[in-house]
Every structure is written in C-alpha cells, then in structure tokens.
Amino acid sequence: MVGHLLEVKDLEVKFALRFGDLTAIDGISFILDKKEKLGLVGESGAGKSVTGFSIINLISKPGYISGGSVTLDGVKLNDLTDSEMREIRGNKISMIFQDPMMTLNPVLTIATQMTETVHAHRNVSKNDAMDIALDKLKKVYIPSPEKRLFQYPHECSGGMRQRIVVAIALLTNPALIIADEPTTALDVTIQAGITDLLSELCETDDMGLILITHDLAVVSQVTEKIAVMYAGKIIETGLTEDIIKNPRHPYTQGLIGSIPGTQEMGKRLTQIKGMMPTLTDIPKGCAFHPRCDIGEQICRETTPLLESVDGEKRLIACHIAGV
C-alpha cells in the first residue's frame, strides 16, 4: 500500500433520530498526503464539519459513523478503542475550530490549556511542558509569549486567540491538522495572517491540512486540492487551480460565479437559486437537480457517481457535465 497520510474511504455518518436514521455523510472518499493541503468546500449543511469531526471520531450525539473507514498512516482509526483514539486526538490529529472566542476555556489560563495537552500525550516534566508551550507560542508569532502564558483568554484579542488555538494544535507536532472554518470569525486582515501561518507551518513541519470552509477565496490561496461537498457527498474534486479556473460541476460553477470580482464589471453576480436541502428531504436522483440549470430527466431518477473525467485528476458527480 502506498503511504498516504490520510485515507478516507466510503465514509458514512448517520444521525440516529426518533423517526429513523438520517444520513449526513453519504459515502465520501479522499486521500491526503504529507504536506498536502485539502480544502473541503460547500454551503452550510453540506456536511463539511461533520466530516472533519468524524475523522477524529468526535461527532456529537446522536451522530455515529455507520460505514467506511478512516486510515491514518496505515492505522485504521475505526478499529481503535476509546483510549487509543484519545491518544490520536490532539496528538497525531489536531483540530482548529471556527470561533476563537468560544474555543478556549474562559476560566483557565493559557498555560494550563497548553500544558495539559502536552501532559496528555507526552511524559514530560512541568517545566518541559512549559517550554514546549512557549516555543509554540513563538512559532505562531505571539508577541511577549511569556506574559501571554499566564493570561486568561478574555485578555487576548480574537486574532491572538486563534493564534493561541493554532499553537495548541501544534503542541504535539501533529501529522494532520483539521481546521474547521478557522478564519470565518475573524476580520479580513487577520484572516490572511492565520491562513499564511497555516500554509507556512504545513511546509516547515511536514503536516497535512484539511481546511474546511465555505470561502473559496481562502481555499484558493492555501490549498492544492479541493473537494466540493453538497448534501453529504463530494460532487467535484481535483487540483485547486483546475477547479477554480475551470469548474465543471454546475454547483461548483455556481459557487465560483457568486464570488465578487470573478464577473465582468457592472454585471450582476450569478447566484445559485434555492437552498441546500435539509437532511430530511434530500431529493431523489442528483441532490442538486432542483437547483440545477442544465438538469435533465435522468438527474431526477438516478444518483450520479463520482467519476473521473478526461483522464484528469478531476472527479465529478454529474450526468451532464461529467460526460
């Protein structure tokens, strides 16, 4: 087997509800190599975050992984016990959350929240843990880190807090970072700082990155690969450059067309009509067909498979554009 860093295969996540199970993630697969950065893109409700959480098996109840596999460095994570999984979390795979204002515990010092992660995964002394924490704070360019360590989250600004969260994610030199909308809650100037930092760290520290976001602009700056998700499925995936320049799936085209600046001056922005379907009433056939402009009869009946086109590194799930 080739040594991929992360291999997600036919992953399926369901939510057990009173009236039956709802499928949130419907058999998605992707591969990530060392130093590679993958963007998971889609509207809210597409299942991006659930995908991120299911990789570290931390989906909130009543969600559960109902099928497929996640393999990290050749280790199948599905087969691990709770305590073995705990060893992976925050150690080999770190997560960065959306809102830095909510991610840090308000009643514990930065030092506590950093060193506890080190102690959970490494057998080191208190002083060594402190040194590691200090080192990582320096790495994310936090000014006067010695002072920050003994402050509480509320004493730091939003951008500063997200840097601290990134520093926490780095504490154990993870092989993979899953960043769930890491810049959404920050203003634009700080956004750039955080995304630059993440790309730089992937390069210097040999890490893989999964960037979950709805912001195609951010994805195009940071990642090499994109997977576009819609209603729990990947509908188009390939190299970032190819997809941004030449989107094939009508949904991807709609997403890119709706970014300001991609259209000619003076023209209206294109807009995808309608809303993402909720999990309870995902349409039969292609889930996107009610909103699609080029849909035909077949789209209403059969679900398109994710297939490669033109022998490119591009996979598309569409009856029309995929041919």
Binding site: I56, L58, S60, R86, E87, I88, R89, G90, N91, S94, M95, F97, Q98, D99, M102, T103, L104, N105, P106, V107, L108, T109, E116, T117, A120, H121, Y152, H154, V165, I168
Partner: protein
Amino acid sequence: MFAFIIRRIIQAVIVMLVISFIGFSVQHSIGDPVRDMVGERVSEAEREALRDKLGLNDPFLTQYFRFVKNACYGDLGISYFHNKPTMHVILRKAPATIELIFATTIIILLITFPVGVYSAINPNSWFSRVVMGVSTIGVAVPVFLTAIILIYIFGVELQWLPAFGRGDTVNIWGWETGFLTKDGLLHLILPSISLASIMLPLYIRLIRSEMMEVLETEYIKFAWAKGLNRYRVWLLHAFKNTLLPVITVIGVEIGILFAFTLLTETVFQWQGMGFMFLEAVERADTALIVAYLVIVGVMFVVINTLVDVIYGFVNPMVRITGSK
C-alpha cells in the same frame, strides 16, 4: 482588593441601615412594650412616666438615630421578656443555628454536586431519571412536612434518632457546640436533613442543567479534541464553568436557608435563633425581634461578601485584584 473591600463595606452599611430602619419602624408601630412590661394595675400616669424614661415619647427619627447609635456600640436594646441585653440573648442562641446551617450546607454540598454532575454526564441512566423524578416531588414538599415525616419514621416508629432538642453540648470558649458529642451529632441529623431537603432538589437540578449546557460548548468540544482524559474534561473544564452560576444562586439562597431555620427549629424544638425569634414574636418582644433582624442581616451581608470573593476566585473575568 482594597477598592473591593471599601465598596463592599459601603454597600453593607446601606443594607444594614435599610434593614434596621424597616425593623425599627415595625417595632415602633406594633405593640406597646410598656403594656407588656407592667401589669394591669399600673396607673396611666405611671405608664406615661415609664414611657418618658424609656424615650418612647420622642419623635420617631430621634428614636431611630438613638437606636442606630447604640447599635454601633453593640447595644441593640433590652429584651423586655428576658430582661437582658438582646445581643446577649441572641448570641447565646446563635451557635445552635449556625451549627444547624453549617451541617445543612455540608449535606447539600456533599449530595448535590456529585449527583448533579453525574446526572449531567449520564442524562439517560436510570439513576439520573430517578433523581429527576424524585427531585420534582422534592421541590413540592414543604420543609415542615418532610420534618414531621422524618420524625415519625426515625424518631417514633424506628426510634433510631432523637426527634427534638440539641442533646449534649460542650462549652468551648462560650460556644455551646453539639459537634463534639455523639449525642449532639445524633440530634443534628434529622433537623439538618429536613432543612437540606428544601435545597437538594433545587441545586441538583441547577447543577445538572448548567453542567449539561457547559458540556455542549465549543471549548468542551475543543478539550475533547485535544485528547484530554475524560475526568479532566468533566471535573476541571466543565465543572469550573458550571460553578459560576451555581455560586451566584448559593449567595441568594443562603438567605432563604436562614428563613427556613424558623420552621425547622420550631418543629425540632431546636434551641436556636429561629426558635427564639418565633417565641419573641409570640411575646411581642419587639426589641428582640429587631435585634434578630439586624444580626441576621449582618450575617447575610458577611456571607454574601464571602460568596462574592469565592466567585472572583473562580471567574477570572471579575477578578477583584487591582494588582499588576
């Protein structure tokens, strides 16, 4: 810290002035102490002379300011019934009440925190369901009913525990304590359980719902994602945040605990301040009533300040130190 203390003292003074003013107005307008002090055969002229001597004919505000001035020197008047300084009477009764409240608090803390936290972590276990069901009933049962039922079961039918009084006490530097004798401790069991019973359901539900809310937050999710030991997530990350609203409620509820000592002490013939207060009301011993209100007011203010200080230690955002 210094600014905090100054602010707290000013607040306390205002609170005490309000309490004493209300108490004093009540004393002033109900009952005629002279009638209670002297017999039927004393003439009206002699009564009037006594009123003059006691200053009862002075204008209301003059009397009030005299009362406040004396109170500052620790003189809260003379109990008409006991014919002794009210301070003296109350301080002799205080240990019984304070020990009752102390034991009750211990019971509340020892039961509600573990049960509340457990049922927040395992909301669907049978234990949590039973606790929730029982606590719904518990909220509705009044304290005197609980007390009477407990007396009937453990005092009358089973004869395991004494049903009234404080039992043997030991005097340590003027403090009559029941904590040091087996008999005293046995006597403490039923009253403190009865008094605790009004608070148990409330705190269990409060702690449970606050903890469940905290467990849903992003920072708890992040703590799981960091791969921390589950007990660290529950007992440090979640519990410390759960404490904040709970401490606030405790500060308010302590006043209610004081109020319920009246009922508990009466049912159990517990010779404390609450029992004394009800006796004073029956005897229209107004000076003693007002003194009780003032002293309980002081205790309440002191305890509330302590609660605020503890809150400041738990919540860094209101940390009261002005240092650095």
